[in-house]
Amino acid sequence: MQYLLMLFADETAWHRMSSAEQQRGVAAYQAYTEALKEAGAWVGSNRLQNTNTATTVRVVDGKSQVLDGPYADSKEQLAGYYLIEAADLDAALSWAARCPGASHGTIEVRPVWPTYGATSGTPATAATAA
């Protein structure tokens, strides 16, 4: 089962950090990504640029509306994500707690809508099949 870990954090904090702190922060995320990969849990991840680069689009009555800025204005912004493979929510929460983002921000954990026929191949399904 896949889970999306959405990392919310105060994006202005980055600029207030010293370059040594920034380096250490990046290194912590690299180590976390590495640990996910070694565990076979990593599916994808990305850091996002700040919300001042965001543009929102929607189509109302056939007319597209394009707005400058993020969809939601909040104190903490979506700063990045990890898409992970985990046996269940408990395992996903355990990975979320290890993410550096859990210490300096908030992580929203959401199960991905399952697509039948897609390659999920969790040990649990393999075990039941066998």
Binding site: A27, A28, E34, A35, L36, D90, R98, P100, H104
Partner: protein
């Protein structure tokens, strides 16, 4: 119900939790609410053979007391009063569902009222059935993972949401699991009884393991800012105290409590003024809680007098040895290795094997320890065990195998939950990187 105790206990600063401080009215209220809740619930649940129904009846009894006591005064024996009302409510099947939050607020007020009349409450009208409840919670038919949460909720009255956070489970899932366990107790007629002699050892192990699990969950993340985890450690220690009180003749219960107290005594020493992680061998001994260590030593001696060794006594004995070594500047780790040998023979735990390897490094040298560690690498249970990677990194760093050390640090950092531990490991990793850089440059 934990919210209420949380509120009573810490108004926000979180510093009113030192053991040595004289008991305030709030502490007494907290103790009475805690004590009464578990006792009353254990009695009711055994009576009704239904934990959920007993919880509802008790919540109603507390609500009734809140309405009655301010008008008619606090009864001579509040517990007995509450029990009579709760049983009537339960028997009548009057189960108007009240929200847990409301019940929590009611219980808080009652705790304060009870504190005022605690001196008159010297009659003990009920047999203490908490032990039966503990055995029911840790019954082999109950899923291992839910035993500790179930004990925390039924015996101590902790709120499901608080338990969920501490065990890193979603609140909804925790409520469901607790509900399912209670349903199992009711439907399978799991006995609220003290087991027979022949099943005693195994059943007691289940209870001790669950108390230990509650404690380990709190200890795994010792960040001082993290009230939730600190609370769980305290609750687990209280649970162990209840167990010692109920089973004073069982050396393993004494050993369990002793082990918890040794670790808890070092809490303040585990962080420096900057909030950074301080490993055991670099801790400032003046920051250790000497009285708590003394209590642990006394418990361990009491346990030893029974002449029946066990896992928890060995764990406590190890803590005792580590403490004694630091205090006496002993450099020979032979006693530690021997204790780890005994513990490993008993448990076959890979975590014990890991700690033994670290002790072996001090006696037979780092290479011997690395050989042990390499063997442990095959154990899948350690693949995502953060302390394994931290230990591996430290050992490889000591022999100058920087490549292995760098990778192990990377894993240890990536698997760390605690930012202080993460920071500590990052600094160590940076030192090796710098050393490498100088060498190659």
């Amino acid at each position: 119900m934990a919210h209420l105790r949380r509120d009573i206990r810490h108004p926000g600063d979180g510093c009113d939790r030192r053991v040595n401080r004289p008991a305030s009215a709030r502490d007494i209220a907290n103790a009475v609410a805690r004590r009464s809740y578990g006792k009353l619930l254990a009695y009711l649940a055994a009576d009704m053979h239904d934990v959920s129904a007993a919880e509802d009846a008790l919540a109603e009894a507390f609500a009734a007391a809140l309405a009655d006591w301010p008008v008619h005064g606090c009864p001579d024996n509040p517990e007995s009063w509450l029990m009579t009302v709760a049983r009537r409510k339960g028997i009548d099947g009057v189960r108007r569902r009240r929200s847990r939050e409301a019940a929590a607020v009611q219980l808080e007020t009652i705790a304060q009222m009870q504190a005022e009349c605690v001196e008159t409450d010297d009659v003990e009208p009920f047999p203490d059935r908490r032990l039966g409840l503990l055995f029911a919670c840790a019954h082999p038919a109950i899923d291992v993972g839910i035993r500790a949460p179930l004990m925390l909720q039924t015996v101590l009255g902790l709120d499901a949401k608080v338990i969920a956070s501490a065990f890193l489970v979603s609140p909804e899932a925790m409520c469901k699991r607790l509900g399912r366990a209670k349903q199992k107790i009711r439907e399978a007629r799991i006995p609220f009884a003290i087991p027979e002699r022949n099943a005693w050892r195994e059943r007691l192990d289940g209870v001790l393991a669950a108390v230990y699990a509650a404690y380990a969950e709190g200890w795994s993340d010792p960040d001082d800012a993290d009230l939730l985890h600190r609370d769980l450690v305290e609750e687990a220690i209280f649970l162990a105290r209840v167990l010692v009180e109920l089973l004073p003749q069982e050396p393993e219960t004494l050993g369990l409590l002793a082990g918890m107290l040794y670790a808890e005594a070092r809490r303040r020493a585990r962080r420096n003024a900057q909030g950074e992680y301080v490993p055991f061998d670099e801790q400032d001994l003046r920051l250790w809680d000497a009285r708590m260590i003394e209590e642990a030593e006394a418990l361990l001696r009491r346990a030893g007098a029974f002449g029946r060794i066990g896992r928890y006594q060995l764990e406590a004995a190890l803590q005792s040895a580590h403490v004694e070594r630091r205090r006496s500047y002993r450099s020979d780790w032979t006693p530690e290795v021997q204790l780890y040998d005994a513990l490993h023979a008993l448990t076959r735990s890979p975590v014990v094997a890991l700690n033994r390897a670290l002790a072996i490094a001090e006696v037979q040298g780092v290479e011997a320890a690395i050989a042990e560690i390499r063997e442990l690498a095959a154990d899948k249970r350690l693949a995502q065990y953060q302390p394994y990677w931290a230990a591996r990194a430290a050992l490889f760093a000591r022999v100058g195998n920087d490549q292995e050390a760098m990778h192990a640090y990377e894993m240890a950092i990536g698997l760390a939950r605690d930012p202080a531990v993460r920071g500590f490991l990052q600094r160590r990793q940076e030192e090796i990187a710098a050393r490498n850089h100088r060498r190659s440059g």
